[in-house]
């Protein structure tokens, strides 16, 4: 039973991901006074791409073909770490958030290699910038998680979530606030959203993530797009689980689970709205301001760690 | 008889060799006489081991310590004679500078050094020590060039003055002994002095005074800083085999004299004073010579400064005393003698073939003269005290003693200076050995006499580094027993 629920949680993260993307796109369109495409549009895009033939540069090697697969597998693997509707996950053990971060890094590593394998200037540009962003994002990401882990005296995501569930919502600590700020900023950077990267850009010179996937087409592109949708969803789910887990089902009964799903949908919707507002309101940062952005995140997360001394007792 | 023969042969031999006007005949005669002499020394060493200390009249005596130094003399002079037989091939016939004169003087020089080691009487010791200066001064000035004459003059004057002070020290010791009631006949006899020292009531003040004069005097010959000034000049300007002899044996013989005095004074007036003097001279020599090695550009002068540094090491070993310090110091005299001979031979061949000793103008030896550079590498590694060569072992012993006695300042300075010396040697030798040769040597191959001597020396360093042969270890023990 537990395994089924955990599996379903993971599937939820994977399958709903394009929808989240669609919703955010739609909301953004609305905020910009456009009608926007259907929220199901990402699904049809994926389907279309999966059916297309793939164009491969002649100079490229096997790495070009493997990269999207590894990226996708890594992201899917990570979904098994995150509790969504109840505080449990498929893979659940002490210290797993380091693994989570690093499995994501595995995917990104390969995607960057794939980008370089295209042999074009844009792939290199995207990979180079991605290298900068991700190398600087990793530290605040892990530090933010560390702060919360110290507070909960646990190092497993599920344990932290279970601990948070027991806390009083209104008794929020400074550490949580700081860590949330840091992790939210990191989340924007990790998922390639504004103000770090513009996912909808068509101007090559401003691209980061889009620059990397410029050479990809067909099923490979579909895998990459899907993976980045899952990643977006995943990161939102992670933030929800860490900072507002309340509403998760405590038992295994279907009703409580259904209620939890409902709560989750609600929280997800709020997040989507917030994200679209941020993305509409904020301009993309210049490339060399990104380190400052991440620097602020790092400072916040470091402060969060330092504040644990006084909060923990 | 056994003591007289090794003394008689060099003197007679010197005269004999002078009769051979043909250089080749002179060389052959010298080699033959040398073989006999070395065999006799071997027998003598063996007999001392078998029968204990040997006497010959009141003035000659050989004990364990002498036999160790005799062994050093035998080994080095064997190497030097064989090496010189090839080295002198370029030398013409001139007034006082022909092979026959060379060998004659070498034998005289050997005679004085051997007699230093077998003197039972401190006065005789002094006379013979002065004799070494006189016998070798002409050898230093052998080439009769401007440099050689200058070096020879400085050597003669500086050492004679130094030695004069040693004479004064000897006299002071004599006064102390006579005042303490010893008969004038035995007051300079080392054994009687050693016997009397603990109980005869020597005036400790006079003993210390005597030691000050002796260490300054014989220290001039050893090359202790600041009395070392003659040493680089003499070593650099002398013919290479003589440089090897000076560095490997002459300095060692002077050190032998200091050891004898140190033993008496330690017994009579407590070891603190003499040992601290030895330590300070040792450290000063190590530091100054080590620094000079860094900036020295002439290969033979470089080696000369290294000799000063090693005499400093030996002095530190003696000054520390203790079983390991003494062991290290005695072993180091032997090791240094062999390693320094090897290096001087190498330097001699560099000079023969490239006609220069300037470190900056020697390049790419490893390409142009691989055998020679192998010898130089081994010599350099050994002299800076790296394993697997034997100097590592002796320096390890001395360091152990320094740390075990908690002489931390000495030990740390010792280590720092070893590193600096290493830096100097590494810098100069890397420069000379590697790279493209900038001039082609006139005769790249070593002649057999050269490479056999170098190979023997290198092998000796390696063997002693891996394991001290049993016989030698026994010899060391006997030598240490004499000094205790």
């Amino acid at each position: 039973m537990r395994i089924v629920v955990d599996l379903l949680q993971a599937l939820l993260l994977i399958l709903v991901a394009p929808l989240v993307r669609g919703v955010v796109a739609r909301l953004k369109a609305r905020l910009q006074n456009r009608r926007g495409a259907s929220v199901w549009r990402p699904y049809s895009d994926l389907l279309k791409l999966f059916r297309k033939e793939e164009l491969v540069p002649p100079t490229s090697s096997a790495v070009f073909r493997i990269a999207p697969v590894v990226l996708f597998a890594a992201v899917v693997c990570v979904t098994a770490f995150v509790p969504v509707v109840r505080s449990s996950a498929l893979i659940d053990w002490q210290g797993d958030f380091f693994v989570l971060v690093y499995v994501l890094a595995l995917g990104r590593f390969f995607l960057s290699l794939g980008a370089l394998d295209g042999g074009s200037a844009f792939g290199g540009m995207g990979a180079s910038r991605e290298a900068l962003v991700s190398s600087l994002a990793e530290a605040p990401f892990l530090l933010g998680l560390t702060a919360i882990a110290i507070l909960a005296s646990r190092a497993d995501i599920v344990g932290i979530v279970a601990w948070t569930l027991k806390q009083d919502f209104f008794n929020i600590s400074t550490v949580h606030l700081l860590a949330f700020g840091a992790l939210a900023m990191v989340a924007l950077a990790e998922t390639g959203r504004m103000p770090v990267d513009n996912p909808t850009t068509h101007l090559e010179l401003t691209m980061i993530h889009e620059g990397m996937v410029l050479e990809y087409s067909g099923p490979s592109l579909a895998l990459i797009e899907w993976a980045s949708a899952i990643k977006l969803h995943l990161v939102i789910a992670l933030l929800i689980a860490f900072f507002v887990p309340w509403g998760m089902s405590a038992g295994d009964s279907w009703t409580s689970l259904a209620l939890a799903v409902l709560f989750y949908a609600l929280k997800l919707a709020v997040c989507a709205v917030l994200l679209s507002i941020i993305e509409s309101a904020v301009a993309k940062l210049r490339m060399y301001l990104v380190p400052d952005f991440l620097g602020v995140a790092a400072a916040l997360s470091a402060l969060a760690v330092i504040f644990t001394i006084w909060v923990k007792r | 008889m056994l003591l007289l023969l090794p003394l008689a042969i060099p003197v007679l031999g010197a005269g004999l060799i002078l009769c051979f006007h043909n250089p080749r005949a002179a060389t052959r005669a010298a080699l033959g006489l040398g073989a006999v002499e070395i065999a006799l020394l071997g027998v003598l060493v063996w007999q001392v081991h078998e029968r204990g200390a040997l006497h010959e009249g009141r003035y000659l005596r050989a004990d364990g310590l002498s036999s160790l130094f005799l062994l050093v003399i035998a080994v080095v002079s064997a190497l030097v004679l064989v090496y010189a037989s090839g080295y002198l091939r370029h030398m013409g016939e001139g007034r006082f500078s022909s092979p026959r004169w060379f060998y004659a003087l070498v034998f005289l020089f050997l005679f004085t050094m051997i007699s230093v080691c077998v003197s039972a009487n401190l006065g005789l010791l002094w006379i013979m020590m002065e004799g070494t200066t006189l016998a070798s001064a002409l050898l230093v000035g052998f080439y009769n060039t401007e440099g050689a004459v200058e070096a020879g003059w400085k050597y003669l004057i500086v050492c004679t003055v130094g030695i004069a002070f040693a004479l004064f020290g000897t006299i002071v010791l004599y006064i102390a002994a006579v005042r303490a009631g010893m008969s004038p006949a035995s007051a300079l006899d080392w054994v009687s002095l050693m016997d009397a020292a603990p109980r005869a009531g020597f005036d400790p003040h006079l003993m210390r005074l005597a030691f000050v004069f002796v260490i300054v005097g014989y220290g001039t010959k050893i090359g202790f800083v600041p009395m070392h000034s003659w040493l680089p000049d003499a070593h650099a300007e002398a013919p290479t085999p003589i440089s090897a002899l000076l560095s490997a044996v002459l300095l060692t013989c002077a050190m032998y004299a200091v050891m004898r005095y140190d033993a008496i004074v330690s017994r009579a007036a407590g070891p603190l004073f003499s040992h601290s003097l030895l330590l300070s001279f040792g450290l000063a020599s190590m530091i100054i010579a080590g620094l000079l090695i860094l900036v020295q550009r002439n290969l033979k002068r470089l080696l000369a400064y290294s000799s000063i540094e090693h005499m400093g090491i030996i002095a530190i070993g003696l000054g520390l005393g203790g079983p390991l310090g003494l062991f290290g110091a005695l072993l180091h005299t032997f090791n240094h003698a062999v390693a320094k001979s090897l290096l001087f031979f190498g330097a001699g061949n560099v000079r023969l073939n490239l006609n220069t000793l300037h470190v900056d103008s020697i390049r790419g030896l490893s390409r142009s003269m691989p055998q020679l550079s192998a010898a130089l590498v081994i010599g350099a590694l050994a002299i800076v005290g790296l394993p697997p060569f034997s100097l590592f072992v002796s320096e390890f012993g001395i360091l152990s003693e320094a740390f075990a006695q908690a002489h931390y300042v000495v030990a740390i300075l010792f280590l720092i200076m070893l590193s600096i010396v290493f830096g100097g040697f590494a810098f100069h030798f890397l420069g000379m050995l590697s790279g493209e040769p900038n001039r082609s040597p006139e005769n790249a191959r070593l002649v057999p006499s050269e490479y056999t001597t170098m190979a023997c020396a290198a092998l000796c360093l390696l063997v002693f580094g891996a394991r001290i042969p049993h016989g030698f270890a026994v010899l060391l023990q006997e030598a240490m027993a004499v000094l205790k």
């Binding site: 033939e53 793939e54 164009l55 540069p57 697969v69 996708f72 899917v76 693997c77 002490q94 210290g95 690093y102 595995l106 590593f109 370089l116 394998d117 295209g118 074009s120 200037a121 290199g124 990979a127 180079s128 290298a131 900068l132 991700s134 190398s135 990793e138 530290a139 892990l142 530090l143 895998l223 490339m287 060399y288 380190p291 470091a302 760690v305 330092i306 | 400085k154 004057i157 005074l209 000050v212 004069f213 260490i215 300054v216 600041p226 100054i288 620094l291 900036v295 072993l331 790419g364 394993p387 072992v393 390890f396 012993g397 152990s400 030990a411 590193s419 590697s434 790279g435 001290i468 270890a473």
Partner: protein, 678 residues
């Protein structure tokens, strides 16, 4: 403290046979490595030399592996005593710590020597090949001696020889003025470091009366605290110099790149580790911990080395130098682990100390494996293209698929990606940092968790760096004709790389089998430590994670895809040339820009002709890192000594009267001393 005691108890009759086989194997290892040198130098028949030398080296390493495995997993202790043959006690022995490092040496050396067979054959003529083999085998045996020594004498012999022989190997490769200078710096720094090691050994002497490890261990409790501090500091400086801790790393990026690739692999992969061994031996085994401030010092040094190491690495485009700087980085990570462990030990938290020590030791082993793999890869690249300059490479993956794949595994491992071995140790390090929060009321409570950020930054930058390395060297288009026509290396070289890559993967996926003996080892070093549960859990979980990732990848990859080869999109222009790709320098530009303060670059743009700003014939751009430790740290010191030497030299005036005056002054001074002596 207890290693030898505990192991002696184990040696009952049952393990008698085993002990015998271990001893035989060990003696065989040393003897055959020692035999290679005379054979290589003296036997005249060239082919025999080649066959015998390579076979002996490889066989001895394989045997060494078995010996190490037996000792490491079964915990047997063997001692081979040569004291009868040497002037000072000289004995070799294998306890568990030694066994770990012996395993490290042999398991790296075996493939490296396989690689070396073809490498030496192709790169050197008859004469140099002989000396290469001789030095190579002696270098290996010196390292074996270092890690198995049980007396200070033996250790120091091995320690000095290791430096010398590696310098010899570098010089056989070539001896231009620049190399000579680098070798000189290498030798000098190593000698100074060795002096510190010598001193730290000898400082035990007044208390232990012998340099036997057992005696040192027993005496260490009686050593006064001040002396202990000095010993620790000296050991840290001495071993830190060898390990390449910043700012003592100066020699490392100079010496490693100029060695032949198999030797670089050994130097970077193995020789640096002997320093880690020495440091662990001193701080954990002999002294059983340190005061907290020392732990902080180690931690700080580790953090600085890690960060600066990786930052300097990113700015490099010479592959071997880049890898050398990564050695600095990884040594930094290892010392982060060691410092953490010492800190826990100082605060009496043995369990966590054990965890951090396991992390450090495992990272030591891992780094040896992947760094030698990467250096072998660099060797393969240089064989195929005659260069290791990244700007001249590109597109090698299609031409050298096996090398490329192995190299990729190496890259993933060094970055610390999951499924590869580097991750396991980095994860353990992360976990021990996290555990720092249990040390309430100490500075470590914040400092250790903050180190998570430092290590994450190091990891992130390393990832960026190796994306660059692999992407620029192996992917995309070739940037030079040599890279265009590169061919795969011969099978023996492939075998070597595949072997190392397999071990990396194996440890990365099934770490449990290695962690169990590591735990027992650490329990001996830190007596009251239990079994950290992390070591168990990661062994169980990582395989599942791996299975998930691999399974999903396999499933996804199974979908057959239609492919069509087309030219890369070039914005509508006729075509791309290789010069349009991102270069290594271009790739690292953003990071160099962000960390400009670390590099303090000196940029220079030269344009020709200078008077036409818009139509130059050529533009050259040069950006040189100016942060230099020589200038800030070493130069003043060196200049002081040299100026002192020059001043001393002036004392030797050449005037005999002055010389005589020196003698008289010395005499007068001594007489005055005698007169006014206290």
């Amino acid at each position: 403290m207890g290693i030898w005691l505990a192991s002696k108890e184990i040696c009952d009759e049952k393990s008698e046979m085993q002990l015998l086989s271990i001893k035989t194997g060990f003696v065989f290892l040393l003897a055959s490595l020692g035999l290679v040198a005379p054979i290589a130098l003296l036997v005249s028949h060239a082919k025999t030399v080649r066959v015998v030398a390579s076979c002996l080296v490889i066989a001895s390493n394989v045997v060494g592996c078995f010996v190490a495995v037996l000792c490491f997993w079964q915990q047997s202790t063997a001692i081979v005593d040569f004291s009868r043959f040497s002037p000072f006690p000289l004995a070799l022995g294998i306890d568990r710590l030694s066994a770990l490092f012996l395993l490290l040496i042999c398991s790296v050396a075996a493939p490296v020597s396989i690689f070396a067979v073809s490498y030496f054959d192709e790169h050197y003529g008859e004469q140099r090949r002989r000396s290469m083999w001789a030095f190579f085998s002696l270098f290996l045996s010196s390292m074996v001696v270092v890690v198995t020594a049980t007396t200070g004498f033996a250790f120091l012999i091995g320690w000095e020889l290791m430096t010398l022989l590696s310098a010899g190997l570098i010089l056989i490769e070539g001896d231009s003025a620049e190399r000579r200078h680098n070798v000189f710096i290498y030798l000098l720094m190593m000698h100074a470091g060795a002096a510190a090691v010598v001193a730290s050994f000898f400082l035990f002497l007044p208390h232990s009366h012998s340099l036997d490890f057992v005696a040192i261990r027993t005496a260490s409790t009686g050593v006064p605290a001040g002396v202990k501090t000095v010993i620790l500091l000296l050991a840290f400086v001495g071993f830190g110099t060898k390990a390449g801790i910043i700012p003592l790393h100066l020699w490392l990026p100079r010496a490693h790149p100029i060695a032949p690739s198999p030797v670089s692999a050994l130097m970077s992969g193995v020789m640096l580790k002997t320093a880690v061994y020495g440091f662990v031996r001193f701080s954990f085994d002999f002294l059983a911990g340190s005061p907290p401030w020392f732990a902080y010092l180690v931690l700080l040094a580790g953090a600085v080395s890690g960060l600066l190491g990786v930052l300097y690495a990113i700015a490099e485009h010479d592959l071997k130098r880049l890898l050398a700087y990564h050695s600095v980085e990884n040594i930094g990570i290892i010392f982060l682990g060691l410092g953490t462990s010492l800190l826990f030990l100082a605060h009496r938290a043995p369990l966590w100390a054990a965890l951090a020590l396991i992390a450090a030791l495992l990272h030591t082993l891992n780094h040896a494996l992947f760094k030698s793999l990467l250096f072998l890869g660099a060797g393969a690249i240089s064989r195929a293209t005659n260069t290791v300059d990244l700007e001249e490479l590109g597109g090698l993956q299609n031409r050298m698929p096996i090398t490329g794949t192995a190299f990729l595994i190496g890259c993933c491992s060094i970055v610390g990606l999951p499924l590869f071995n580097g991750f396991i140790s980095e994860w353990l390090t992360f976990r021990s940092f996290l555990a720092g929060s249990v040390l309430t009321g100490t500075r470590a409570q914040i400092l250790l968790p903050l180190m998570v950020g430092v290590l994450a930054l190091i990891g992130g930058l390393a990832a960026a760096c190796f994306v660059k390395v692999f992407g620029v060297a192996f992917l995309g288009r070739s940037r030079s004709a040599e890279a265009e026509h590169a061919v795969e290396v011969p099978p023996s070289m492939q075998v070597a790389m595949i072997f190392l890559a397999t071990i990396c993967l194996f440890i990365g996926i099934l770490p449990g089998f290695l962690l169990r003996p590591l735990v027992s080892l650490v329990q001996l070093l830190i007596p009251s430590a239990g079994v950290p549960e992390e070591t168990l859990s990661i062994g169980q979980v990582i395989p599942w994670t791996a299975a998930t990732v691999v399974g999903i990848s396999a499933v996804v990859a199974l979908f057959k895809r239609r492919e069509r080869l087309t030219r890369t999109w070039a914005c509508g222009l006729p075509g791309l040339s290789s010069r349009m790709q991102y270069t290594s320098t271009g790739f690292s530009k953003p990071i160099r820009y962000v960390f400009a303060r670390v590099y303090r670059p000196d940029r220079k743009v030269e344009q020709r002709p200078g008077d036409q700003p818009y139509f130059p014939v050529s533009i050259s751009y040069r950006s040189v890192r100016t942060t230099s430790y020589e200038k800030a740290l070493y130069r003043p010191f060196v200049e002081l000594i040299v100026s002192l030497a020059h001043r001393v030299r002036r004392l030797q005036t050449g005037n005999i009267q002055i010389y005589l005056l020196y003698i008289f002054l010395a005499l007068v001074l001594l007489l005055a001393f005698l007169r006014f002596r206290p």
